[in-house]
Subunit: 194 residues, 2 copies
DNA sequence: TTCTTCGTATACTGACCTGTGAAGTCCTTC
DNA sequence: GAAGGACTTCACAGGTCAGTATACGAAGAA
């Protein structure tokens, strides 16, 4: 089997694939702690034994869930970034990705939610969530540098702040379109900084 | 006893006061679902029977925890707002409050965390968290109107987005000072809008 | 004195939690 | 036809969860 903490999604058995899809939906909709492995196994049409044979522990399953989400999110962002050529537009591309992502994920950011539920820094899910956020910050910083910003680090931090605000607003202001508001702000910030 | 879902902190018995203080610390540090009533009772130096005699259920205790936090946060914000006279400064005052609050609450926003853990809209804690956020948005909207913004609603939404971004960053970017970054952005946004 | 309030102590319920053991079936591949 | 991976069945361990039952003690107020 696989002793690492996450899994290459191409090597998953059909049962493991169903388990991970089911877990992803249940974790995102109901929270990680609130969902037990019995429910995941039952909804996947699989026994609990199979779940443990494939994933080893609930923590590993949680980590796999976040890891796969991370992979999809990065791919989406890079698709938007690579579709642009102008440096300023590449800097703003993650906000276009965010608008698409938010419309399909109404329960907010899975990584923010996971960090809220699993505060122990040693938890694998905690590490994965922080790495995802760091990746985006670094992407902003590289793009800001290439766009010729006078203070790339500060511009990146500002854009990251707007990004996080949009995600948090999905949970705290369900009636407002946080991604739309943050995108407008991001345009102003970039226009002022480059 | 008290059949309502929360409590007037002035009428708490000494035991109830200790329970609520202990619960607040444990919930904030470790998450709500992760903390059991047995631990809260033991740490408060109180039996579980007393906890249930005072609060009736864990859900009510959670609601009381958030309710008291909400009360303290609103008082802090209004202290900063009332210390200012110029309309633009009153509009920005919540960001000053946020900087003080953030420095004392490193685990991020208890309301965002609670919404992540308790997604059911019917949960009393869910309702309290949403009301807290709505209160701040309304405060921004009133202040924006008095400051003479051309689009008070949009300005309020933008400031709220920055506020939420700062709070989310406490969890997702532990090394950065989200409140500082958001405050800088807020100044620029207000300067451009009024 | 009697009643109420606030608290103690201990034991308990029934459900749920993550995780394991042991044995056996199905299916593909070599 | 042998081997091995994927999966099943089912029982069970060892704990923790929220919440309850019962009985008692101390203090203040009427």
């Amino acid at each position: 089997m696989n002793e690492s903490s996450t899994f290459d999604p191409g090597t998953l058995t059909p049962g493991a694939r169903r388990i991970l899809d089911t877990a992803a939906e249940l974790f995102y909709e109901n929270g990680i702690t609130a969902v037990g492995v019995d429910l995941i196994a039952a909804r996947s049409g699989v026994t609990k034994r199979t779940l443990y044979n494939r994933f080893g522990s609930k923590d590993t399953l949680v980590a796999s869930y976040l890891s796969e989400r991370d992979r999809r999110w990065r791919a989406l962002v890079m698709r938007y970034v690579d579709a642009r050529t102008a440096a300023a537009e590449r800097l703003l591309a993650p906000f276009e990705a965010l608008r698409e992502w938010s419309s399909q994920n109404p329960r907010g950011c899975a990584f923010i939610n996971a960090l809220a539920e699993l505060p122990e820094p040693g938890h694998p899910a905690h590490r994965i969530a922080l790495e995802e956020k760091r990746w985006l910050r670094d992407l902003f910083a590289r793009s800001a540098g290439r766009a010729g910003a006078e203070h790339p680090g500060e511009l990146a931090a500002r854009l990251f702040c707007l990004h996080e605000g949009a995600l948090a607003m999905q949970a705290t202001a369900p009636g407002l379109d946080g991604a739309h508001i943050a995108t407008g702000l991001a345009h102003d910030v970039v226009r002022a900084a480059v």
